[in-house]
C-alpha cells in the first residue's frame, strides 16, 4: 500500500517538474489536469483506507470534489478564459527551461533537507511522500515566479494548492472536514476571481503578460 502511495507521490512530483518544462498554455492546463487526476487517485486510496479503518467518508467526499473541481471544472474554466483572451504562444519565462528544471531539483533537495529534521514526520526513515508533496508546493510557487503571464500564476497557484492538499493528506490524513470544504470554496472563488481579472486585464492592457503591469512602483 505504502509503495503505491510513494509511487503516486513521485509521479505527482514528476508532473510538477513537467509543468515547469512546458511552454504552452494548453500544456499547462493538460499537465495540471494530469496532476489533479493523480491527486484524486491518492485521495481515493486514502479515502478507501480510512473508510475501511475508521468508517469515515470524509476523504472520499473530498476525492469526489477533487474530481469534479480540479479534473473537470477548473481546467475547463481555464481553457475557456484563455481561449477568449489569447492564443499566441511566446517565450514567457525569465530563465531557460533546463535551468528551471535544475532549480526545481534543488528545491526538492532543499525540502528533503529541511523536512528531515522533523522527527514526527519521519518514523525511522524520512517520509518520502511528505517530502515529495512539499516539493510540489515549492515548485508550484517557483512556477508562479518563473512565468510572465497571468495563466502561469493561476496554474502555479493551483499546483501549490495541490501540493498543500497532498501534504495534508499524507501527513495527517486530511484536515477537519469543514476546513477542507472551506478551503475548496475559497480556492474555487479565488480562481474564479483571478479568471475574471484576467479578462479585465486583457481588456485594459491588451495583453495578459503580467510583466506589463508595472505602473505601480516605488
Amino acid at each position: 500500500m505504502e509503495h503505491y502511495l510513494d509511487l503516486l507521490s513521485v509521479l505527482m512530483l514528476l508532473t510538477a517538474i513537467m509543468l515547469v518544462s512546458h511552454k504552452r498554455i494548453r500544456s499547462y492546463i493538460r499537465t495540471f489536469r494530469l496532476q489533479a487526476v493523480l491527486i484524486a487517485i491518492i485521495a481515493g486510496f486514502m479515502g478507501m483506507q480510512s473508510l475501511v479503518n475508521e468508517g469515515s467518508f470524509d476523504i472520499l467526499v473530498i476525492c469526489a470534489i477533487i474530481v469534479a473541481l480540479k479534473v473537470v471544472i477548473i481546467p475547463m474554466l481555464l481553457h475557456k478564459t484563455f481561449a477568449n483572451v489569447e492564443d499566441v504562444v511566446e517565450k514567457d519565462f525569465y530563465l531557460n527551461i533546463p535551468i528551471l528544471i535544475l532549480m526545481s531539483c534543488v528545491l526538492v533537495v532543499f525540502s528533503y533537507f529541511t523536512l528531515s529534521g522533523i522527527s514526527a514526520l519521519n518514523e525511522g526513515h524520512v517520509n518520502l511522500q511528505v517530502v515529495n508533496a512539499f516539493s510540489v508546493i515549492l515548485i508550484g510557487f517557483f512556477f508562479m515566479i518563473s512565468r510572465k503571464k497571468a495563466i502561469g500564476q493561476i496554474i502555479g497557484y493551483l499546483v501549490m494548492e495541490n501540493g498543500i492538499f497532498v501534504t495534508a493528506i499524507f501527513s495527517t490524513h486530511g484536515m477537519p472536514f469543514i476546513v477542507d470544504i472551506g478551503i475548496f470554496i475559497d480556492m474555487i472563488t479565488a480562481v474564479l476571481i483571478m479568471g475574471v481579472m484576467v479578462v479585465q486585464i486583457n481588456d485594459k492592457f491588451d495583453s495578459i503578460n503580467i510583466n506589463n503591469l508595472r505602473n505601480l512602483r516605488g
Binding site: 508562479m144 510572465k148 503580467i210 503591469l213
Partner: protein, 680 residues
C-alpha cells in the same frame, strides 16, 4: 503649603496658562478681546512663574515633587520635580513670557482680521507650557514628551507666516533636524534607563559604566547641541528664528535654545557626573567653533532677524565654552573653578535670554513698522522710532558685552573662569584654554561689530527706502515690554551681585562648593587660588566715573569755549551735487572686509549685470551676491542629496512593480525561515 510657596505658585502658573489657552479658544471670534485677555493672563502667569522661581531660590528650598497626572499608560505619568536648576530656567522663561506677552498685545494688532490669532495664541501657550514642563520634568519620559511638544509647537509657530517659501523651508529644516536630535536624546535616555532601571532623574547613575557614559554623553551632545544651535549643527537656527513672528523669535532665541544648556546641566553635570576631561574638551572645541562661526555669519547678515539668530549661535557657543570649563575643571577636581565657570555660564544664560529677547522684540518692532527685515531697506529709523532706537541700542550694547549692561558681567566672569582654570596646569589644556580666550575675545569684538552694523545701518543715516521713510513709532506697550528687558539688563549690569546671590544656591548644589566667599564685595571681587590679588570689577563705579568725567568736561568746555553753538548743514559731499541715501555705506559693504578675510568659511557667488554700450557709462548695473555657508554647501547638501538619491534608487529596486519579484521575496523568505528552523 501656603499661597506663596514655590509649589503652589507653580501650580497656579500652570493653571493660569491653561486658562489663557481656554480664553484664547473661547473668544476666538472676538480677536481684540481675546488678545487682551490671553496675553494678560500670560503676563500674570509670567509673574507667578517668576515668583515661584524666586521664592524657591531665595528660600534655599529643598527640591520638591508633584504628581500632576497619573496616567494609566505605563511610564507616561506627569510628575514634576522642582529644584534650583528648574527654578533658574523657569525664571528665565517667566521673565520673557511676561515681556513677550506685553509686547504681543501691541504686536498682534496687525494680525487682527488677517490671521488666525486664536490658533497662534494657543500654539504660543502650548509652546510656553511645554518649555515649562521641560524645565520641571521629574522623569526623563516626561522630559522627552515636553521636549517633543515644544519642538512641534515651535515648528508651527515658525511656519505661522507660511506664505513665503523660505519660511516653509526653514520650518522643514527645523522640524527634521530637531526631531532627529530628539531621537538621539531618546536613545540616550533609554540607554540610561537600561542600566539604571529607572527614568527618575533623581536616581543615581552609578550603575552606568564609564564607556557607556561616554556614549550617552556624545548622544546628548549631538541631541542638545542641535537644539541649541551649536555649529556645525546649527543650520536650522538662522533660518527658523527669523521666520517666526517677532514674539516667538524672542521666546525661541531667549528660552528654547537654552533648553540645550538645561539638558546638558541636568543630564550630564547633574545626572551622569563628570569623570573624564575630554567631555569638556569637546564642549570647548565646539563652543569655540560656534562662537566664531556664529558671530561671523551674524556680522555678514543683512537680514536683521537672521543676524540676531546667528548671534544666538555665537552665544550658545559661549555657553558651551562655559560648560566646557565646568566639565574640565570638575573632572580635574577643581570644584571651585568649576563653580565659578558654572556661575558665569548661568549668568550668561540668564542675561542672554534677557537681552536677546529685547533685541528680537526690537527688530520685531522694526519689522512691524517697516514690513521689512532687510537692513538695506532701512536707515534713519532713529528719527522715526526714537524710543525703539534707544531700547535697541541698550540691547545692542548688552550683547556686545559693553558696560554698563549685563552682557559684560557674564563675559568677564567667563574670562575669569578661563583664567582661573589655568590652575589645572596641563599643558595641552592650557593651549586649548588660551585659544578659547582668544576666540572669545574675537567673538566679542565681532559681535560688537555686528551690533554696530545692525544699529548703524538700520537706525542711523538716512532712510534708504520708502519702507523706512514711512515708519512710525510702535505702540507704547511694545516699547514698555522691551523696556522691561533692557532695564533688567542694565540693572544686572550695574548690580551683578543681585544675580550672583540669587543663583549662588544652584551652583553650590550642583558643584558641591559655594563660591559666595570667593565672589564677594559690593560689586564683584574675585579671589581664587591662582591669584595673589583679587580681580575686581565694578561697572557701576566705572559708569559713575564716566558720568563724572562728562560733567567735568561739560563745565570745562563751557569755561574754555563758551556757549555751545552749532551750525546745521548737510553732510559733506566732496562738492558733489547732492548725496542720496543710496550713497550711504550699505550693510553689505560694511561687512565686506571681514567677509574677504574669512572667505574660507563663507562661499559667495556674485553676479554682475551691466547694460549699455560704453564700458564706463553703463545705463544700469545690477550686482547680486549670494552668500552661502561653506558647511551647508559642502556637507549638508551633498548628504541630503545622497540620501534622497539612495532612497529614490532603492525604492525602484525593491518595489519594482513586478509581481514576480514580489513573489520571489516571499519565496526567499520562506526558504530562509526553513533554513533557520533547520539550523536552530
Amino acid at each position: 503649603m501656603g499661597m506663596f510657596e514655590s509649589d503652589s505658585l507653580l501650580g497656579i502658573t500652570i493653571v493660569i496658562y491653561l486658562t489663557a489657552a481656554a480664553a484664547a479658544l473661547i473668544f476666538c471670534s472676538r480677536q481684540r478681546i481675546s488678545i487682551l485677555l490671553t496675553q494678560g493672563l500670560c503676563m500674570l502667569a509670567g509673574i507667578s512663574g517668576a515668583a515661584s522661581a524666586i521664592v524657591f531660590l531665595m528660600s534655599k528650598n529643598t527640591p520638591y515633587s508633584l504628581d500632576l497626572f497619573l496616567s494609566p499608560i505605563p511610564y507616561l505619568s506627569l510628575s514634576v520635580t522642582f529644584d534650583g536648576l528648574s527654578a533658574f530656567f523657569l525664571l528665565i522663561l517667566s521673565i520673557l513670557v511676561f515681556s513677550v506677552s506685553l509686547y504681543s498685545m501691541g504686536y498682534l494688532a496687525h494680525y487682527v482680521g488677517k490671521r488666525n490669532i486664536c490658533i497662534y495664541q494657543v500654539l504660543c501657550i502650548l509652546f510656553i507650557l511645554s518649555m515649562l514642563l521641560v524645565f520641571v520634568a521629574g522623569n526623563s519620559i516626561l522630559f522627552f514628551m515636553a521636549w517633543e511638544v515644544m519642538a512641534v509647537a515651535s515648528y508651527f509657530l515658525v511656519v505661522f507666516e507660511s506664505e513665503e517659501k523660505e519660511t516653509r523651508k526653514a520650518g522643514l529644516i527645523y522640524i527634521v533636524m530637531t526631531h532627529i536630535s530628539a531621537a538621539l536624546i531618546l536613545v540616550a535616555l533609554m540607554i540610561m534607563y537600561q542600566y539604571t532601571g529607572s527614568f527618575d532623574l533623581s536616581h543615581s547613575s552609578s550603575a552606568i559604566p564609564q564607556n557607556i557614559k561616554n556614549i550617552i554623553f556624545l548622544l546628548f551632545l549631538i541631541g542638545f547641541g542641535t537644539k541649541g544651535g551649536i555649529a556645525p549643527l546649527h543650520v536650522w537656527l538662522p533660518r527658523a528664528h527669523p521666520a517666526a513672528p517677532g514674539p516667538v523669535s524672542a521666546l525661541m532665541s531667549g528660552v528654547m535654545i537654552k533648553t540645550a544648556v538645561y539638558g546638558l546641566l541636568r543630564f550630564v553635570l547633574d545626572y551622569l557626573g563628570v569623570a573624564t576631561p575630554w567631555w569638556g574638551y569637546i564642549l570647548l572645541a565646539l563652543g569655540i567653533f560656534s562662537a566664531v562661526m556664529g558671530v561671523l555669519y551674524a556680522f555678514i547678515s543683512k537680514n536683521i532677524k537672521r543676524m540676531l539668530a546667528h548671534s544666538s549661535v555665537e552665544n550658545m557657543g559661549i555657553l558651551f565654552i562655559g560648560l566646557g570649563i565646568v566639565l574640565v575643571s570638575t573632572a580635574a577636581g577643581a570644584k571651585e573653578v568649576g563653580a565659578l565657570a558654572l556661575m558665569a555660564t548661568l549668568l550668561h544664560c540668564f542675561f542672554h535670554a534677557i537681552y536677546k529677547g529685547s533685541l528680537f522684540l526690537s527688530v520685531g518692532s522694526i519689522h512691524w513698522a517697516t514690513h521689512t527685515k532687510n537692513m538695506e531697506e532701512l536707515g534713519g529709523l532713529i528719527k522715526k522710532m526714537p524710543v525703539t532706537a534707544v531700547l535697541c541700542l541698550g540691547g545692542a550694547l548688552s550683547i556686545a558685552a559693553l558696560i554698563p549692561f549685563s552682557g559684560f558681567i557674564s563675559e568677564w566672569l567667563l574670562y575669569q573662569s578661563i583664567f582661573s582654570s589655568f590652575v589645572l596646569g596641563q599643558a595641552g589644556l592650557n593651549i586649548l584654554l588660551i585659544i578659547t580666550a582668544a576666540a572669545l575675545a574675537m567673538a566679542a569684538a565681532l559681535s560688537s561689530g555686528a551690533m554696530i552694523k545692525l544699529f548703524g545701518i538700520s537706525f542711523l543715516g538716512r532712510p534708504r527706502t520708502v519702507h523706512a521713510e514711512s515708519a512710525v513709532e510702535v505702540p507704547v506697550v511694545m516699547n514698555i515690554a522691551i523696556g522691561v528687558l533692557v532695564t533688567l539688563s542694565l540693572l544686572f549690569g550695574l548690580f551683578p551681585r543681585l544675580a550672583v546671590n540669587l543663583f549662588g544656591g544652584i551652583v553650590a548644589h550642583l558643584q558641591g562648593v559655594s563660591i559666595g566667599n570667593r565672589l564677594s564685595g559690593n560689586f564683584l571681587v574675585l579671589s581664587f587660588p591662582l591669584q595673589i590679588n583679587s580681580n575686581t570689577l565694578s561697572p557701576g563705579l566705572a559708569l559713575v566715573m564716566c558720568g563724572g568725567v562728562i560733567l567735568i568736561v561739560l563745565v570745562a568746555l563751557r569755561c574754555i569755549g563758551g556757549k555751545y553753538t552749532k551750525r546745521v548743514v548737510g553732510t559733506w559731499d566732496c562738492g558733489f551735487k547732492t548725496l542720496t541715501p543710496r550713497m550711504q555705506y550699505s550693510g553689505r559693504a560694511f561687512s565686506k572686509p571681514l567677509k574677504i578675510v574669512f572667505r574660507i568659511f563663507i562661499t559667495s557667488t556674485r553676479e554682475l549685470k551691466r547694460e549699455g554700450e560704453a564700458l564706463y557709462h553703463p545705463t544700469s548695473i545690477e550686482y547680486n551676491v549670494k552668500t552661502e555657508s561653506a558647511l551647508e554647501k559642502y556637507i549638508y547638501l551633498p548628504f541630503i542629496r545622497g540620501v534622497s538619491a539612495m532612497s529614490e534608487k532603492l525604492k525602484f529596486m525593491i518595489q519594482t512593480g513586478s509581481v514576480h519579484a514580489y513573489l520571489l521575496y516571499i519565496f526567499i523568505a520562506v526558504l530562509i525561515l526553513m533554513l533557520y528552523n533547520r539550523m536552530d
